[in-house]
Assembly symmetry: C2
Homo-oligomer: 349 residues x 2
């Protein structure tokens, strides 16, 4: 049986959960998926790095005491991501660090180093895909490796891969989605009577909203996701500045009340549409949807994406948009897709 | 490039639309999908049969005058489906006739003859899958061919294949769905104030409901679909009698009014769940769903299926549940899946 050696770049919630999954269910996964997974390197800003070509002791790595680092267990106290990514024996780099929304760093560099050194990459970061997607995809092709990023949109809910694999033979003309759980939760609570500030505080208390909720509330997060979907699924070839952005901070309780009377619900909708001239118009804006619209019933922190296809009309998928386990599954689903592609490619040799 | 020779069994709405798609978009499909399609036989109860190993003239077959049959064009006036299916040169049989809900005939025999003679089958009929699924799947395996039936549930909306391909590595514990557009439309119109009879008449006028609407309204249609999904996705190993059935004719306008006041909506829900002891409980029943339930917002003739997975929680797909073009696409998606499986299998030789 094939075993893929993987390196975990960033050992926060997502990659840690992936390691827990492998430790707890490795054998079951092997028999179900037809391949094994072995962690051969972990790097983390706080914990340092641990490189073990023969396989990291996962229970040890997962159960460090509060102040311990990998240095006390034969690893290094500092984190030279470039060196680890380029020289470790991993087949696949699982990138789950963080993204500066201006340039996608440090995730973009992590992905680039991996692809340049002939390693496949799965990432849950929006930055590399949204801001450097074309460059990195082309780099992966040049090096004969894979670049997968299902977790960049709606965590592990199949969206990018669903549209690419399940819609073969269909023409995809447009999509629209509720792609940010925090803003959707806030709008729902405002419908229930809370004011904007109270709804945000509640979302923060529940862990949905960050201390600075602007990325969620002002549509920056959705803007990146729309950019990813437009380029990946509509071959839009557009940049961040081409995605119009308007957040929900301008939506008032009065707007919500009025919409309710008219049989509508306000949602923060990210969308893109291919125009007759071939260009793509993309944007994020609060929209008062009629109740029979496929996205009007998406409540709470749930996300959804609706695809407008020629033969089926609209097809919608909804599911979790965030969460550690949900996002760790996105990485696993990326590796499963790489394995399937390898089997398919071998058929054409 | 591979070309698959196909036979169309039944030349009513669905297979006729598939033929139109091939005639209109054949070249584009080739370049997009990596394979060609050639129709080498058509049989139809009314039109007779036309067998052409070198390829049927599709414009001719599609444009017969009102009273013409295939007999006037070198075919036969009568339809010996068994002989055509067993002896024609097709690689794939596209079965779109009709199903007797008691024994699945004549579709079951069509599928059996094809598989026995070493031909793959795609069908849009519920009967063969629901009533003889295990037998026919095993027959396909014995003969090294494929048996695909995405169109049996929710027409071309990916449901069976979505759960099988997109949920790798997940445990599927249960599903629930709105699997009949007619009953969902009728409930929606009753919510809007129509009485049961008027809502059904409107559905009939729109072409949603048949002259005898019992299959839709009394849950027989959903019962078959639940049986298919339970056996295919939960390995339930159950029979039709194991799927409890209750239709919507007992739901009153008063029930709907009361639910509306309580923030609920009545839906005809088909569902199945794996119990702790490994058995599966399956049924169809009208259910008053809370508004934040993923299926509560599914309006009109739209269908939806919601899957309860271990790592992602509920993931829901919604889309068309019927329609000629939508169901013809289901057949095309089945053939695409056969092609992909062939490529994958070749890798393991």
């Amino acid at each position: 049986m094939t075993t893929y050696d993987i390196a975990l770049i960033g050992f926060g919630g997502v990659n840690r959960t992936l390691a827990e999954l492998i430790a707890a269910r490795g054998e079951a996964l092997n028999s179900e998926l037809g391949f094994g997974l072995r962690v051969v390197a972990i790097t983390d800003l706080r914990l340092g790095s641990l490189v073990r070509p023969e396989g990291v002791d996962l229970p040890l790595a997962l159960n460090l005491a509060g102040s311990e680092t990998f240095a006390e267990h034969g690893g290094s106290a500092d984190t030279n991501n470039e060196s680890v990514i380029r020289t470790c024996t991993a087949d696949i780099i699982c990138e789950a660090t963080f993204t500066n929304p201006d340039d996608g760093e440090p995730a973009v560099s992590h992905v680039r180093w991996a692809l340049e050194s002939g390693k496949s990459v799965c990432t849950t970061n929006k930055g590399p895909v949204a801001l450097r997607g074309a460059e990195l995809t082309s780099l992966a092709e040049q090096n004969g490796v894979h670049f997968e990023f299902e977790g960049a949109v709606m965590s592990g809910t199949p969206v990018i891969r669903l549209a690419k694999k399940m819609f073969a033979g269909l023409k995809l003309n447009a999509f629209e989605g509720i792609l940010n759980g925090t803003s959707n939760y806030v709008l729902g609570r405002m419908e229930a009577g809370l004011d904007f500030e109270a709804a945000i505080q509640e979302a923060q208390a529940l862990g949905y909203a960050e201390a600075n909720p602007a990325a969620d509330i002002e549509g920056y997060d959705v803007q990146l996701k729309v950019l990813i979907l437009a380029n990946e699924l509509l071959e839009a070839g557009i940049e961040l500045k081409d995605v119009q952005r308007k957040g929900i901070s301008t939506v008032t309780r009065e707007d919500l009340r009025k919409a309710s009377q008219e049989g509508r619900r306000w949602k923060l909708v990210g969308s893109a549409r291919r125009n007759p001239d071939g260009t793509v118009t993309a944007g994020v804006a609060p929209t008062a949807l009629p109740l029979d619209h496929g996205l009007a019933g998406i409540s709470g922190a749930t996300n959804a994406a609706s695809f407008d296809t020629d033969l089926l009309g609209p097809v919608t998928v909804s599911g979790p948009g965030a969460g550690r386990v949900e996002t760790a599954y996105a990485l696993l689903s990326d590796i499963i897709a790489m394995h399937a592609a390898k089997a398919g490619a071998a058929a054409h040799v």
